[in-house]
């Protein structure tokens, strides 16, 4: 029953296919988990279903919740599948093609003979020019001609768009024109979502800022509607706890901040998974891991070395540079719902996904495309019931769809076709693992592979073999790792100011700018309800030598010579040299964090018995065989087993391939090892 000694946080991670829920009592460390199919037409439905399920399990009332944490792939899927809102862009006259020109380069690693410039999220035909001009430094050089904005608004009204991005030259130095343009557009086009560049990425360089603003606009209607609906549902359910959303940087933030800059959630769900993976692996003493998070639509691959999750400001989502702080990972369009299709005699898998509805044919929601999940079903990798028996799989439907869509056109047997689908999708994922490992100078064979997400543990052994990795770790609850990561994440926000002109470090100016930024941070803490003892602030200066193009982030110390010394030391350590040139202060930043309590820390009791509850016919590469089905919930610490075996649990299914053996760690995680001398 609900008691005053509880401090309940609930985390909800909505993937394309399933919604995962973890409820944590931060006082006792008790965890309750739930999983429910996502409802793409209204994801908030599954969101609340899941909360009800978990609360019922815990026997707690909705009013007892202190925090509702949420990670979402709504924004990332819209960007990756190019399904964001149809958007128009308003820019300064004369600069309509900035977005298309980009940086006017053929990428350094691309081949000039074959490279095709990616189609921008907003084509030039939907880019409008208005009359205004801000000079460098922020002075108004030409007043905003409001009539030109109204003309643009009229044209936009004819364009059948849902969102408008506004990015004007030098707006980061003076936001007045962008703000006024947004006001006029809101007045004339009240039903459209409006984004200004200064609210998303107020930094120099018009192409990157335009692109980020445009991406923010394309996801804004979807994310705003969605967050509003969630809040309404929570209110109806009498939940008074604040809704906190995971950002791409691995920290959470309140809904208000996310409404303004939904692009900050571009890697929301994936970042949560990585935070969760790190905390689970740490409990087994494993610090070097490659995570592969396979959901319904996409797979996110990240490398954690020495327990450290890398952040980047040079990140990309799909084809696009998105210079917002984010976890350094690679996302590809490959997941359980990825559609296998034959065109011109060639089989391709993804990036199109059947999602949760209709989903794979096996789910029985009328899916009419062959998916990766259907291939697993055909080969017998999945038991006939999922979600603890609440969802039955239609094996015949999977066989029919693979016969029709893949096996028939290619003249293969159904099993061969299914194996081909898996080989292609595995190969695709291996390519992405190479990007985060070998292409960054890491040997994947020295890492533990940690597949998670609903579909991850089905692919773990196959991916490891392709990569030469001999150890695979399966978290206790791999399907809800994102939800666990939400519970382990701190609140995070950054407040920064780029000085009008870069120049010598002036302690007085810096103090007054920091005071302003810290006042903003303090307001943010108040809004987020972070109590005083949980507040953490870090002052950072971005410095460079006069003339350089990139800055180094140096923790602020009082006194310009001390700061310059710290900068020189960092420059020497990173780049191996220093210069006599003047050191310039470019930007001041305050990083604010609201600490949360620790993540779930369950253990399993010691028990070495492994008792299959059933067996299933599986099409292995070497031929058909009966493979034991084991309930993972019954496995205790110290249990050992060998493949082939299928381990089932509420949130995922693990396929232990022939040649692999496993043990159960005291934390409940499975450690799978490839036996020596196996020839495959």
């Amino acid at each position: 029953m609900h008691s005053t000694d509880q401090n309940l946080s609930i985390a909800v991670d909505i993937g394309g296919t399933f919604t995962d829920i973890s409820l944590l009592d931060r006082v006792s460390g008790n965890v309750w988990r739930a999983k429910t199919p996502s409802v793409p037409s209204d994801p908030s439905e599954a969101f609340l279903d899941g909360i009800r399920l978990a609360l019922a399990d815990a026997g707690a009332p909705a009013s007892a919740l202190q925090q509702v944490l949420h990670g979402t792939t709504v924004a990332t899927n819209m960007i990756l599948e190019d399904k964001g809102a149809r958007t128009a862009l308003v820019t300064t006259r004369g600069f309509r093609h900035v977005l298309d020109i980009g940086r006017q380069d053929i990428p350094r690693k691309a081949n000039l003979y074959t490279w095709v410039k990616p189609q921008r999220p907003v084509p030039a035909s939907r880019i409008l020019e208005i009359d205004e001009r801000i000079a460098p430094g922020g002075a108004v050089e030409r007043e905003l001609d409001e009539a030109s904005v109204e003309l643009a608004a009229d044209a936009i009204a004819q364009m059948d768009v849902e969102a408008v991005a506004v990015c004007l030259l030098h707006a980061f130095a003076n936001p007045a024109h962008e703000r006024r343009v947004a006001e006029i557009l809101r007045e004339k086009l009240p039903e459209l979502a409006i984004t200004t560049s200064v609210d998303v990425l107020p930094v120099v360089r018009e192409y990157e800022r335009s692109l980020t603003t445009v991406l923010n606009a394309t996801v804004m209607p979807g994310v705003t509607t969605y967050v509003g609906r969630l809040e309404k549902r929570l209110e109806d359910e009498a939940v008074s706890a604040p809704l906190l959303l995971m950002q791409s940087n691995g920290g959470v933030a309140g809904a208000a901040a996310i409404r303004q800059a939904p692009a900050l959630t571009a890697l929301s769900g994936p970042a949560a998974g990585v935070v969760g993976a790190k905390s689970v692996a740490a409990r087994c003493g494993i610090e070097d891991i490659i995570t592969v998070d396979i959901g319904g639509t996409s797979a996110d691959i990240c490398l954690i070395k020495g327990g450290h999750i890398g952040l980047t400001q040079h990140g990309k989502v799909g084809e696009w540079p998105l210079p917002l702080p984010m976890v350094d990972m690679v996302t590809i369009g490959a997941g359980g719902g990825s559609i296998a299709a034959v065109a011109d005699g060639t089989l391709s898998v993804g990036p199109r996904s059947a999602g949760a509805r209709p989903g794979p044919a096996a789910y029985g929601y009328g899916g009419t495309e062959a998916t990766v999940t259907d291939a697993h079903v055909v080969l017998g990798h999945l038991p006939s019931k999922l979600l603890g028996g609440r969802m039955a799989l239609d094996v015949d439907a999977s066989r029919r769809i693979i016969a029709d869509k893949v096996a028939g056109p290619l003249g293969l047997s159904i099993e061969e076709a299914a194996r081909g689908i898996l080989a292609i999708v595995d190969n695709h994922m291996v390519g992405a693992v190479r990007v985060v490992s070998v292409e960054r100078g890491h040997d994947p064979r020295r890492f533990t592979l940690m597949p998670f997400g609903g579909a991850g543990p089905l692919h773990g052994c196959a991916l490891a073999e392709l990569l030469g990795i001999s150890q695979v770790m399966i978290a206790p609850a791999p399907g809800v790792l994102c939800a666990d990561g939400l519970l382990a994440a701190d609140l995070k926000a950054e407040f920064s100011r780029t000085l009008p002109r870069a120049g010598a470090i002036d302690g007085e100016i810096a103090r007054s700018v920091f005071a302003e930024l810290e006042a903003q941070a303090s307001d943010w803490f108040d809004i987020e309800g972070v109590p005083g003892e949980k507040r953490r602030l870090r002052r950072v200066a971005l410095l460079r030598y006069h003339g350089q193009g990139g800055e180094l982030a140096i923790e602020w110390v009082d006194g310009s010579s001390a700061l310059e010394k710290a900068f020189a030391e960092e420059h020497q350590a990173l780049y191996g040299f220093t210069l006599e040139s003047a050191v310039e202060l470019v930007t001041l930043r305050v990083e604010a964090a609201g600490l949360t309590a620790s993540a779930p820390t369950g253990t399993v009791s010691e028990d070495s018995t492994v008792e299959p509850y059933d067996k299933v016919r599986v099409h292995l590469p070497a031929g058909e065989a009966d493979v034991p089905l084991v309930d993972r919930a019954g496995l205790g610490s110290g249990a050992t087993f060998t493949g082939p075996m299928i381990l089932t649990q509420l949130d995922t299914t693990t396929f232990v391939a022939p040649g692999w053996s496993g043990t159960v760690d005291p934390s409940g995680a499975l450690i799978l090892s490839l036996k020596e001398n196996i020839s495959r």
């Binding site: 600069f95 490279w115 084509p123 030039a124 070998v438 100078g441 350089q548 040139s581």
Partner: protein, 611 residues
């Protein structure tokens, strides 16, 4: 042909059958080298001082085996044999860990660098006292002295006017840097602080490369890494040779292209390439590339001292295509059995002919190789326009009231040629070379941009459209400035193929639309500008591919609505009648019924062959 022996050195052909490096290690070594290159490049980008390097990113890196054969290069068809010029002065067997070599001497390196602004640093990498590899960083320095700020000028008539020449020099001896050499070099620059900062960054990037490659050697062992290099070279060479055999039947295939002139009243200059495939005495195919019929060298600085490795690099890159598992390296040049050049020609000028503006010639060389592939039956792109550069030098009034000197070298993108399966690329400069963003430009230089966009109708019409060029219009805020401009492909616009039409041409105009309007010579220096002048530069587009009437109407419509094609051109060239934002189906059908006849090539008019 005394140079070909060194220029086309082959990897050790003794061909060990049992490979030491397994396929997984090979992929990891390849990935680790690519990662090391990315790190070296990121370091340069973040730490260099001149905008030319840090913003425009005019720099490349490469890695060579123990004998100096390029094992992993950058994805650009401009490098040849970078190491043998060093070896001739400094025998590799006498090199020590911590040594660092430097040159920018175009003639002394036989075109390994092809204008003096490009500084090459090369360092050996040792493991257990054995030389195992070389690392190179290469970057364009903004000013190294010479006739005019920026060091390259259309006015130059000999290379002495194009800045200080550094013959192959040992810059560091076992880690001890020869500071005297550096101080002489920096003293010759009009912007010594930039020169110093850029050189420190370039040296640091080589140091980093040496460290990273050392780690790779440590992890895999010298023999495994050497075998990996040799496999990477073999793989590329075999692939290129087999594809050459697919494209080129036995016999001689020839193609001629041209640059407009040299800025001194001479031209056009023809570039004549041929490729001959024959059976050698051993029964193996021989591929002979011949550029010796090209025109004589130019008095002005458009000569391109073409390293013998360049044609093979370009062909290699073309055949590697978009396959990410392939590596651009000396396997391309090694696939050719001989490359002939003629001393005294545009592509092998005699010392001390000026070279500074050779960029326009390199772009025409790439297009001429496309032409050669096309006449032999390959599916290469149509011609690219030659990227444009404007160099503005002058004085501006600083905030403190003093006059200060500035140098702005602004590279401007062009349209690339259309391909059999894709449009030409709109508005790009070159591989890896980026623009100066408008906001960056205005924060750092005394100019205000009035427009930055694509030039409508500059892309050659075709079923696949040639890429469009760029318009960049500046208001001059400097008190005074002298402008050099480099625009080619005006008299000889980039050709289209298989019904595709030639691309548009570039121009530079001062004060357009006023009574003070004046058109500048496309390749010229000494153009005076004063505060308040408007400078408008338009660049050319790429050639089209396929009959314009075969372009899908939806693409024509999107081009018109996006400002890439005018409604008039849609009607006259594409046979598409566009009214407002819609296609007039009836009128379009009528137009497209009158389908014009075409020929193989188009340059202003349809012709069967170009000469």
């Amino acid at each position: 042909m005394s140079q070909s022996a060194t220029a086309l050195r082959q990897a050790d052909p003794s061909g060990k059958e049992a490979r030491i490096c397994d396929p997984i290690s090979l992929e990891i070594i390849r990935g680790a080298i690519a990662a090391a290159q990315s790190e070296m490049e990121a370091l340069l980008e973040r730490t260099a001082i001149s905008a030319f390097i840090r913003e425009k990113k005019d720099f490349y890196t490469a890695l060579f085996d123990a004998d100096g054969i390029m094992a992993v290069g950058s994805m650009v068809p401009i490098f040849g044999d970078m190491t043998s010029p060093v070896f001739e002065t400094f025998p590799p067997d006498e090199m020590k860990p911590g040594d660092l070599y430097w040159y920018n001497d175009c003639y002394g390196s036989r075109g390994a660098v092809s204008h003096s602004n490009d500084q090459v640093l090369l360092a050996p990498v040792f493991k257990d006292g054995k030389r195992c590899a070389f690392v190179m960083s290469w970057a364009h320095f903004a000013d190294i002295g010479g006739l005019r700020p920026g060091s390259i000028s259309p006015d130059a008539t000999e290379i002495y006017q194009e800045g200080i020449i550094i013959p192959v020099t040992k810059l560091a001896d076992q880690g001890k840097v020869n500071e005297a050499t550096l101080s002489i070099f920096h003293r010759n620059s009009r912007f010594p602080e930039q020169s110093n900062g850029d050189m420190r960054a370039l040296m640091a990037s080589v140091d980093l490369g040496v460290k990273r490659v050392g780690e790779i050697l440590e992890r895999f062992g010298a023999d495994t890494v050497a075998d990996a290099f040799s496999q990477l070279l073999d793989r590329t060479r075999k692939l290129v040779r087999s594809k050459l055999a697919d494209t080129f039947d036995y016999g001689t295939h020839a193609f001629t292209d041209a640059i407009d002139g040299d800025g001194h009243g001479n031209g056009p200059f023809k570039i004549r390439f041929s490729l001959t495939r024959e059976k050698g005495p051993d029964g193996e195919d021989r591929f002979l590339f011949d550029a010796s019929e090209s025109d004589d060298q130019a008095p002005g600085p458009v000569n391109y001292l073409m390293n013998r490795g360049v044609p093979g690099m370009a062909l290699g890159l073309y055949y590697l295509g978009g396959d990410p598992s392939q590596v651009c390296n000396a396997g391309g040049p090694n696939a050719l059995d001989d490359v002939r050049l003629r001393e005294g020609s545009l592509l092998l000028p005699r010392f001390p002919a000026p070279l500074g503006m050779r960029g326009l010639t390199t772009m025409r060389v790439i297009s001429a190789i496309n032409g050669l592939l096309n006449v032999a039956g390959g599916g290469a792109p149509a011609a690219n326009s030659a990227y444009v550069i404007s160099i503005m030098r002058g004085n501006f009034r600083a905030e403190n009231g003093n006059l200060e000197r500035f140098l702005l070298a602004d590279g401007i993108g062009v349209g690339y040629g259309a391909r059999p399966d894709a449009d030409g690329i709109d508005a790009v400069y070159f591989v890896a070379q980026e623009n100066y963003p408008v906001e960056f430009l205005e924060l750092g230089y005394p100019v205000r941009l009035r427009t930055y966009g694509v030039v409508p109708d500059s892309g050659g019409a075709g079923a696949n459209r040639g890429g469009c060029g760029i318009v960049r219009e500046y208001e001059i805020l400097a008190e005074d400035a002298v402008l050099a401009v480099r625009i080619d492909s005006v008299k000889n616009p980039p050709w289209g193929i298989d019904g595709g039409m030639s691309g548009g041409t570039g121009k530079a105009i001062v004060n357009p639309g006023t009574d003070r309007e004046r058109m500048l010579a496309p390749l010229s220096d000494g153009n005076k500008l004063v505060r308040g002048d408007i400078l408008r530069i338009e660049t050319g587009g790429g050639g089209g591919h396929g009959h314009p009437f075969d372009r899908p109407l939806a693409k024509v419509l999107e081009d018109v609505l996006g400002g890439y094609v005018s409604p008039e051109a849609a009607r006259t060239l594409y046979g598409a009648e566009i009214v407002g934002s819609r296609i007039d189906e009836v009128a379009t059908k009528r137009l497209r019924a009158q389908r014009p006849a075409t020929s193989r090539f188009h340059r202003k008019d349809y012709v069967d062959a170009l000469d």
